[in-house]
Every structure is written in C-alpha cells, then in structure tokens.
C-alpha cells in the first residue's frame, strides 16, 4: 500500500509537498503571523529621503557582502561595537541588512560614531586611514548626483512619510552625501534613547596623570597617538576632522581642562549632548576605552601635554 506511492506521481508530489511544508509552516509562517516578529522600538524613525537614498546605495554596492549590521550579545562583541542589537531596531528595514560575513567591521552602531568628514575621507580612500584596509574606494560617489524623483518613488513604495521640502533638498546632493547620511543613522535608535546614552560614562581613576612627564610613557603615547588619533586631530594636534588639541580650548570653550577630563573624553568618546566638566559635546569622537588600556590612555595624554608645550 505505502509502496504504491512510488508508482503514483501526483500522490507522491502531494505527499512530499506536505512533508516539505510542515517545517516552513512552524518556523516561518506561524511566527510571521504573530506580533513577536514585528517589534518596533518606540523612538525608531522611518528613513528620511536622504537616508533611504543612502541605504539604496548600500544595497546597490553590496556593502553587506563585507559588513554585518548586527551585534551579538557576546561580551567582546559588545565591547568592540557597542550595545547588542535589539529586535525592534529593524522594523523599517525592507529587508534586513545583517549580512553574513565580517570582512570589515560590524556597522550596527556606526551611526554618530564619527563626524561626516571622517566618512567622506574614508570612503574616498580607506587606505589613507588604514593602510592595510581592503575596502574599495568609493570617492566616485561624489560625482553622482541624486535623482529626487526616483528617491520619491522609493519613499512612496515603502509608504514612508516625507515632505516636499525634503525631496527638493535632494537637488544638488550627491550619492556621497546620501551614504554618509545613512551611515549616521544606522543603529541610533538604541544609542540615542530618550534621556541619554545606554552606557554610563566612566570616570577617570585619577585626577592627575600618573604617567605625566615619564619619558617612556611619552614615547609610547606618541606612537599610540599616531595610530589612533592623528587622522582626526592632526599629526601635531593642530586639528583636522576633530578639533585642535593645542589651542587652549576644550570642547569649544576657552580654557584647558584637567588630565581626568582628557581621560574621560578618550575613554568614553563623545555623543551629541553629553557633558564633560560642564561643556557640551557635538559628538563624533569615538570611544577608546575597550581598545586601549588605562596606561595607554595616560601615555597618550602625557604625549598630548608635550604637544601643548607643557
């Protein structure tokens, strides 16, 4: 009886279709019908026209073949990239862009990590910042103007809200502007939770630099500064993408600050609206607390003091 099925192709096809579809039904179809598969963080916003245009470019260029966009809840991964990914962060991603290969670093928390100018220079030539990078150069995006009409039709297809002004503002903007705008919004629904950041800022263990004036530490600090800081603050602290470190101002206010404030700035990085010693940040300084040890940070500060002639 059962062996009859191997003589009856229609029967066979029906039975195998049912057998194949059971797993589909349980693991794919049923969950899709439940709210647990459609969570949305309260402060998550749909993409703006410029951001969506950037996301389209991300898809077109296949950045997801080298970059992931999901931080797993593993200790070292959270240290390296930031808060682990939440289910509700991706509600406007049609489709998700988590990727499956990390040839380059994860980008789930790239939003607001760097200033716009950093991204533009990096896209122009990644090897300027990291000589061993294998990321392709994307400077040519600057030569391609956005087409407001097609961006609008993309917004319409997704039924995302927009204003006519936002569309008109695309006139004259380039694909570079768009990809940077997209980078700056990725993952910010979590880090920019109402009421400040997720990770509390860490305070310096000491007020004064314990390694101040130490020649070995200063030499090590010089090296570390060259590797980590000079791309933004210039080779001798004169400022470039980031502000000058030698102009007697700190966070846009006249008057230098203590070693501990330097330490906290370097350890925690900056986010728009954060405050250090009463001075308000604009954001764009990456955090180094997970990559540099405390002594390394103090060494860099010792070196910065020599740049300042102190």
């Amino acid at each position: 009886m059962a062996s009859d099925i191997y003589r009856k192709p229609i029967m066979f096809a029906l039975v195998s279709a049912v057998v194949i579809l059971v797993g589909t039904f349980v693991t794919m179809f049923i969950p899709m019908m439940t709210p647990q598969m459609h969570p949305r963080l309260e402060n998550l916003m749909p993409y703006t026209p410029l951001q969506l245009a950037g996301r389209d470019i991300y898809q077109r260029e296949g950045c997801n073949n080298c970059h992931t966009q999901t931080v797993r809840p593993l200790r070292t991964e959270v240290m390296r990239y930031g808060e682990y990914s939440k289910a509700g962060e991706f509600a406007y991603d049609y489709p998700f862009l988590w990727g499956s290969k990390r040839t380059g670093p994860d980008l789930a928390r790239i939003g607001k990590k760097y200033p716009d100018a950093w991204h533009e220079r990096h896209f122009e030539n990644p090897r300027e910042f990291y000589p061993e990078s294998n990321m392709p150069s994307y400077g040519w995006l600057k030569m391609h103007a956005l087409d407001p009409a097609s961006v609008r039709s993309h917004m319409d297809a997704l039924a995302f809200p927009y204003t006519q002004d936002e569309i008109s503002a695309l006139q004259g903007r380039t694909e570079m502007d768009a990809i940077v705008a997209y980078m700056q919004v990725v993952g910010t629904a979590v880090t920019k939770k109402a009421g400040g950041d997720v990770k509390p800022r860490v305070s310096a263990p000491e007020v004064r630099n314990p390694l101040a004036g130490d020649p070995a530490a200063t030499a090590a600090g010089k090296e570390l500064y060259g590797e980590n800081c000079s791309v933004c603050h210039g080779a001798s602290g004169e400022g470039d993408i980031g502000p000058s470190l030698v102009d007697g101002m700190f966070l846009y206010v006249e008057g230098d600050l203590e070693d501990e404030d330097y330490f906290e700035m370097i350890y925690n990085g900056s986010e728009e609206g954060n405050v250090e010693a009463g001075r308000v940040m604009q954001g764009g300084m990456p955090a180094f607390g997970e990559e540099l040890s405390k002594d390394e940070i103090w060494s860099i500060i010792a070196f910065i003091r020599t740049l300042q002639g102190k």
């Binding site: 279709a17 057998v19 296949g62 489709p95 061993e132 994307y138 993309h154």
Partner: protein, 469 residues
C-alpha cells in the same frame, strides 16, 4: 532495443551552457579572491567586490548549478521514464530563455540591481523570468513522468520531484516585493521577520539546489558508472523522507545570536543536528554500493568522483550541524570559516558529482568513449587539491579571526583592534587565490576532455539508443 527517441540536443545545450557560465563564475571568483588582498583590483563602479561577489555566487549557483541540473534532469528523466520529453520544443525554448536570463542576471548584478537577499539578489523582473523558467521545466518533467513507460519511479525521480516543488515555493515566497520602478524593489518583509524568511530560503536554496538535485544525480549515475546496484532501497526511502522533512526547519541556524526569537534558533539547531542522520543515510548507501568491489575505484574512473563527492557531502553534513551549535557559531559565524564550509560543498560535492555525471552523459549521447581517462584523472586530482587547500586555509584563518575578535587582555580590554585581526588574514587569502588557480586548472582539463570527446563522437540529432536505467 526500444523504439523511442531522446532529445539529446537540449541536454547537450544545457550542459554546454552550464560549463560556459561555470567558467564565467570561476573567473570572477578568482578576481574577487584577488580583490580581498589587492584592493586596486576594484574597478568602480561595475567591478567592485561588493557587486562582483554576487555575480560569482549567482553565476555559479544558477548559471552553472541550475544549468547542469536542467540538462542532467532532462537526461535522467527521459531514461527513467523510458520515453522522450513530452514537450521537446518547450525544452528547447527553455534552454534559450535560460541563457538569456543568466546573461541579463549577470549584467543587472554588475549594474548594482540587487535585492540584498543572499542567493535571491535578482530584481523583480528577472524573478518573474526565473519563475517562468521553472514552470516550463516543471511542466516538462511532470508531464514526462505522468506519461512514463516504466511503472516504478526510481529514487532519482523522487529527488527531482521534491526539488521542483521546494524550489518553486522557496523562490516565490522569498522574492515577494513591492516594485519601486523597473530596476528596484523592496522586500515585502521587514526586520527580523525578513531575516527569518531569507534564511528559511537561503538554507533551503542550498538544500534544494546543492543537495537534493545532486543526490538525484548520485543515485542515478553511481550504479550506472560502476555497474553496481544501490545497496539498500529501504535506506533510500528513509533517507529521502527524513531529509526533505527536516531540511525546512533549520534556516535559523544562520541567525544564531541575532535578535530572532530564541525558540526559532533552538528549533533550527536541533533539526540541524538531526539532519546528520538522513544525510549519512545516503553516504552509507553510496559506500555500501561500492563495497562489494572497491577495486572499481581504480578500474572505473568515475567511481572515485562519486565516492569522493559523497565523502565531501558526508563531511559537509557533519560540519554544518556542528556550526549550528551556539558555542561553535559564536566562534566561526561571520568569519572566513564559512566560505571554507561552502566550498567543500560546492567544489567538492557539487562540482565533483556534476562533472562526473557530465563525463558519463557526453560519451553516451555522442556514441563514443571518453576522450582520455588520464586527463579525467588529472582533472580529478587538481580539483581535489585545489578544493582541500581552499577549505583548509579558510578554516584556519576563520578560527584565528574568531579567536582574535574574542581575545582580551588581563585588564579586560580587547587585545586586538579590528585591523590587527584583518592583517593576519592576508597570507591565507593569498593561499586561497592559489588554491583557486589550481582548482581552475583542473576544471580546464575537464572542459578540454569534454570538448575532445564531442569532437571525436557524432551526435545523432535524436538518439535511438534507448539506454535502460
């Protein structure tokens, strides 16, 4: 002898097309492997890594893989039903449309039209063409099976039927999208749900393009080329049903530790472990088929292709479930280990088995013998060495990457920056290009052998030799 005729021209057309797209896919594979260590090989906008990688995967999965599947399935189905295709004209049109579609697919991917769904990158107009192609194929296959002259359906036909059904469902569902112009669309699914749908598809695209069709070839050509019958029919039955049942539960093993609900991940991991059983059902069946006379590994040159092929399938189906486990996924997910796994399957199992099937078919339809067994053996060893080197170097560098990412200093800070980890990959990425070159050389020997065999034989437009299964 029987009095019916086989449409060999279409079979031949698909096999040659598949070889052509295979060459394109492999050359692009070499190119992107160089881009990994020499970024100056990126030529924007069309030839950058991000765009070309998908031309490589699509070219080989759909151009080479599916092209070979179409041709070889037509061949097998005609023999197993003891009759020609019901619609030979449709099959011929199928061939032309297939090549047009793959050419357009390659162009559109170079142009950056990409849905960003792995193995389902093609934009919506081409998705429609793919569905049409599949329907044309299904109509011919089912029609021919319905009108067969052999009552019993052999094992290979089960796998063929399952493939036709599963791929249709998978492809259509995962590609559902809202068009935003002719060249752009957005998936119908968003966020974690889209991830779940995509990997339900992605895993089973592997299952129903790189596994079940290849098993159909294996079950048909292994007995044919060794002259030994399949060891156990009962084992074949158990392996078939448990495989097609379990496969569809496991997609979320690609999403371990992501925000996808845990229960879906856990279920996928459990079923992945179970999958070892049906997979090894076929492996054991293959080994025991040859067991009565292992000397055929030497005397029948194709035997070793099939036995090595199924061995890689066996290794693959132990490695895969292991990767699915959380502790292992933690380490190797996102690293170069995964391409190591992938290429043992695609270069070892799929290409080995498909090439051997083609070696069997071409002399049959040209009424001749293989041009050179020696060349075939050279092909075999080059491909074997290239593939092993590829996978082993990628496993090593993958584990190293995973370990460096996780390493911490005694004071709790991360031991390596991302760039320090990346720089350590370069020697292995050089080795990978070298192994790719060795593999490509092997494939050139294969192609040479196929062409010389064709030159030596003559193809009757319709062959009257009714080969019996």
């Amino acid at each position: 002898m029987s009095d019916y005729q086989y449409d060999n021209q279409t079979v031949k057309g698909f096999i040659l097309s598949s070889i052509f797209w295979g060459v394109v896919g492999i050359v692009i594979g070499l190119w992107i492997s160089i881009q990994m260590w020499a970024p100056s090989w990126n030529v924007p906008p069309f030839f950058t890594f991000g765009r070309m990688r998908v031309v490589h995967t699509n070219g080989l999965a759909f151009g080479f893989g599916v092209g070979a599947i179409f041709g070889i399935f037509y061949y097998i189905t005609m023999r197993l039903t003891k009759r020609p295709l019901v619609f030979p004209g449709l099959a011929r049109f199928h061939l032309y449309l297939f090549n047009a579609a793959i050419a357009l697919a390659a162009i559109s991917l170079f142009a950056g039209m990409n849905q960003s769904l792995e193995y389902a990158e093609l934009e919506w107009p081409l998705d429609i063409v793919v569905v049409i192609l599949w329907v044309m194929f299904a109509v011919n296959i089912f029609g021919t099976i319905m009108k067969r002259r052999e009552e019993q359906m052999y094992i290979s036909l089960w796998y063929i039927i399952a493939t036709v059904i599963a791929v249709a469902v998978l492809y259509i569902v995962n590609n559902l999208a809202v068009p935003a112009g002719l060249f752009k669309s957005y998936s119908l699914f968003a966020g974690i749900n889209s991830a779940n749908v995509q990997w339900w598809y992605g895993h089973n695209a592997v299952g129903f393009i790189f596994t079940t069709p290849i098993l159909a070839m294996f079950y048909y050509f292994l007995p044919k080329s060794t002259g030994l019958p399949i060891f156990s029919h009962r084992l074949s039955i158990i392996a078939f049903w448990s495989l097609v049942f379990a496969y569809l539960w496991t997609g979320a093993h690609h999403l371990v530790y992501t925000p996808l609900p845990d229960w879906i991940q856990t279920l996928a991991i459990a079923f992945s472990l179970f999958l070892i059983a049906p997979s090894w059902g076929s492996v054991v069946n293959g080994y025991y088929t040859v067991a009565p006379d292992w000397s055929r590994m030497r005397t029948h040159y194709l035997t070793k292709f099939f036995i090595l092929g199924i061995t890689f399938y066996g290794l693959q189906t132990v490695q895969g479930p292991t990767q699915a486990i959380r502790v292992v996924s933690q380490l190797i997910h996102f690293t170069d280990w995964v391409p190591g796994h992938v290429h043992m399957g695609t270069m070892g199992w799929v290409t080995m088995t498909a090439a051997a099937s083609i070696y069997y078919i071409i002399p049959k339809i040209y009424n001749t013998e293989i041009y050179s067994v020696k060349v075939a053996n050279t092909h075999f060893y080059l491909v074997l060495i290239g593939q092993l080197m590829f996978s082993i170097t990628m496993w090593i560098t993958g584990i190293q990457q995973g370990a460096l990412w996780k390493a911490v200093n005694p004071d709790g800070t991360l031991k390596y920056t991302f760039m320090e980890g990346l720089a350590k990959n370069y020697p292995y990425w050089h080795m990978r290009t070298l192994s790719g070159i060795i593999f490509t050389l092997g494939m050139l020997f294969f192609i040479y052998n196929v062409f010389m065999t064709m030159r030596r034989g003559s193809i009757p437009a319709l062959s009257r030799k009714g080969g019996v299964r």
